[in-house]
Amino acid sequence: MSRPSAESPTAPPENGEPGPPAFRTWRGVYGFVLGCFVLQVALLAVFTWMYS
């Protein structure tokens, strides 16, 4: 069975920059997602407190 390479010759390198503006490293992307998670839980906790 033929098994082509995961990357085409023109594809960006596997560990290159993430791409979206304001994110130069993957660590920044993961930090952003983690920050969103913490913010979402905090907002839900405030929401719970406001309407309990």
Binding site: M1, S5, Y30, L34
Partner: protein
């Protein structure tokens, strides 16, 4: 449903399937069939991952959860963003580096073939049953409410997804999912705004939230440490982390979605998209349910939301009992309505004493209405032990049919079917691929041509589609549907995750140790699940099965490897 609704429903479903098949025509070598064209953009991957996870059950059943129990179920998803980061950092680079078609191929390279086949078999059993629930769930609710024949609904929706999944493969699945999730978002947002418009004059979103909070429907986060509470911050974050890690990291129906990315970057961003939007999406769907609860404080709801089950017992002694309950419910609901008006008026006046008194009265009457709902279920169960007494899955569809305009009804029914087809397509695509790659290629024929493997993948997809349709035709679920799916996943996912964590991080553990450890851990989870009614101490939240199964598999692997003695270390390229 009128003609306009049917035009919206059939036009959307058939149009999306036909357009996607046309767009992906001719891409039928093995790599394209199993992993897509390699050009898939991260947003398509992100939406595809989301569509695979969010089945019709999510949109049909979750609002009912919000209506009945409030927002607490959102905590079930707290582990998801953390798990997605973990998958993006650890699992994904290894899968791409080894260029595997299925996640279980990796187990074969890291350990041995028996461990690979064990992982694939656990996936096939769990996902094969899950696929049956995925197709059964919307069919049972929609056929009951619409008066359609259940078997025809199951077979028609099942065959449509089998045809386009088997014909178009991974790329067609990803493309249809992108358009289907667009329809789903449009439908749910429409339902939300129409619901707000249907609230009485003078009652805005703020008042509705205040009212829902007054009935304890907006408790989204519970930091209680009590292990018998099904959803808490801790069970959702820790148990949910292991559930999500196993689902996104080792379930081929998800792995196949993100391996379709043109590069590691596209796959990673697709996962991160879900890490950001998963919790808000679930919150929104549950909030919709809580707002439907508010709506039914101003518009009298049925005592029991499954009209077919109620109608089946409308005569004789049971019918008389149900009519008596209906009458008592109407009286209690009127008193509750008066109590709500008094509470809102007291709040507006800024009178704390009157507010507290009115709220206490309102909650006391609400207890009575809830007791009457429970009594209805008891009467139905006494008349027929097989009666479907859990009506929360029928709340949203009842609201749609009774209170939304035509056209919007068609759109919302399309949402349920689009969600059913999108998740089912992802599952069938993965089941077909795993059977062809992990079983057929390694047990039946190792040296066949690509064309042969594509043909086998297609027939395996058809086979699993027929298995799912068959399971759906004979299924009968007592649990709320969304919980049934999560319970089934939790029974298997922890052990599968344990296999992969040992593979990634415990380089000294070999195939024999992990194989027997996984079997023992799976037996432990079965024992915990089936003995929970015999031994009350075992009756804890099912989310913990994920953690226990994983920990047992990892711990027993280490123990067995210690007993068996050392082995040659794993290849560095195959571990994290």
């Amino acid at each position: 449903m009128n003609t306009l609704d049917y035009i919206v429903l059939l036009g959307s479903l058939l149009g999306i399937a036909a357009f996607s098949l046309w767009r992906t025509r001719g891409h039928h070598d093995l790599n394209a069939y199993l992993k897509g064209s390699g050009r898939t953009h991260w947003l398509t991957i992100g939406l595809s991952v989301m569509a695979t996870q969010a089945s019709a059950i999510t949109f049909l059943s979750t609002p009912g959860q919000g209506f009945q129990d409030g927002l607490g179920f959102v905590q079930n998803y707290f582990g998801a963003p953390l798990a997605l980061i973990f998958v993006a950092v650890v699992f994904l680079p290894i899968y791409r580096r080894l260029n595997v078609y299925t996640a279980y191929e990796y187990l074969g390279r890291r350990f041995d073939q028996k461990t690979r086949l064990l992982g694939a078999a656990l996936f096939l059993v769990q996902r094969g049953l899950g696929a049956g629930i995925t197709i059964y769930a919307p069919a049972i609710v929609l056929s009951t409410v619409m008066g359609w024949r259940l078997d025809v609904t199951i077979i028609a929706s099942g065959l449509l997804v089998v045809v386009y999944t088997a014909t178009g493969g991974c790329e067609a699945v990803n493309l249809t999912q992108k358009y289907q999730i667009g329809v789903i978002f449009a439908g749910m947002l429409t339902a939300f705004f129409v619901l707000l418009a249907k609230l009485p004059a003078g009652v805005g979103l703020g008042d509705a939230l205040t009212l829902a909070g007054g009935f304890h429907k907006l408790t989204a986060v519970d930091f209680s440490l009590s292990p018998d509470r099904r959803y808490t911050f801790w069970s959702g974050t820790l148990g949910g982390f292991f559930l999500a890690l196993s689902y996104f990291g080792t379930d081929q129906s998800q792995v196949q979605r993100y391996l379709a990315g043109g590069s590691l970057r596209e796959s990673r961003l697709g996962l991160m998209f879900n890490g950001v939007f998963k919790i808000p999406m679930q919150f929104f769907i549950l909030l919709l349910g809580a707002l439907i609860f508010v709506f039914y404080q101003f518009e009298r709801p049925p005592v029991f939301f499954n009209p077919a089950e109620r109608q089946a017992h409308a005569t004789g002694e049971t019918g008389a009992k149900l009519r008596a309950i209906d009458s008592a419910f109407a009286t209690a609901w009127g008193q509750k309505r008066a109590g709500i008006d008094a509470w809102l008026a007291a709040r507006q006046r800024g009178d704390p004493a009157a507010t507290a008194a009115a709220r206490a009265e309102m909650l006391a009457v609400h207890e009575r209405t809830e007791a009457l709902r429970v009594e209805t279920r008891n009467v139905l169960a006494a008349a027929d032990p097989h009666a479907k007494t859990n009506d929360t899955d029928y709340v949203f569809i009842t609201f749609i049919l009774d209170h939304l305009p035509h056209g919007v009804i068609g759109l919302l029914v399309t949402v349920f079917f689009a969600a059913a087809l999108s998740s089912k397509a992802g599952e069938l695509n993965a089941l077909g691929s795993t059977t062809a790659v992990d079983f057929y290629r390694h047990i039946v024929r190792r040296d066949a041509s690509d064309a042969r493997y594509v043909a086998v993948s297609k027939w395996c997809t058809v086979f699993w589609g027929l298995v799912a349709i068959g399971f759906a035709l004979f299924a009968n679920l007592a649990e709320n549907l969304i919980q049934a799916v999560n319970i089934l996943g939790s029974i298997f996912y922890g052990v599968v995750l344990g296999l992969f964590l040992v593979a990634f991080f415990l380089k000294k553990v070999g195939g024999t140790a992990v194989f027997w450890a996984a079997l023992a851990a799976q037996a432990l989870i079965f024992a915990l699940y089936f003995l929970r009614h015999v031994l009350p101490v075992l009756d804890f939240s099912y989310l913990w099965y994920n953690f226990i199964g994983c920990a047992a598999c990892v711990g027993l692997s280490l123990l067995l490897q210690f007993v068996l003695g050392s082995r040659s270390p794993a290849r560095a390229a195959d571990t994290a």
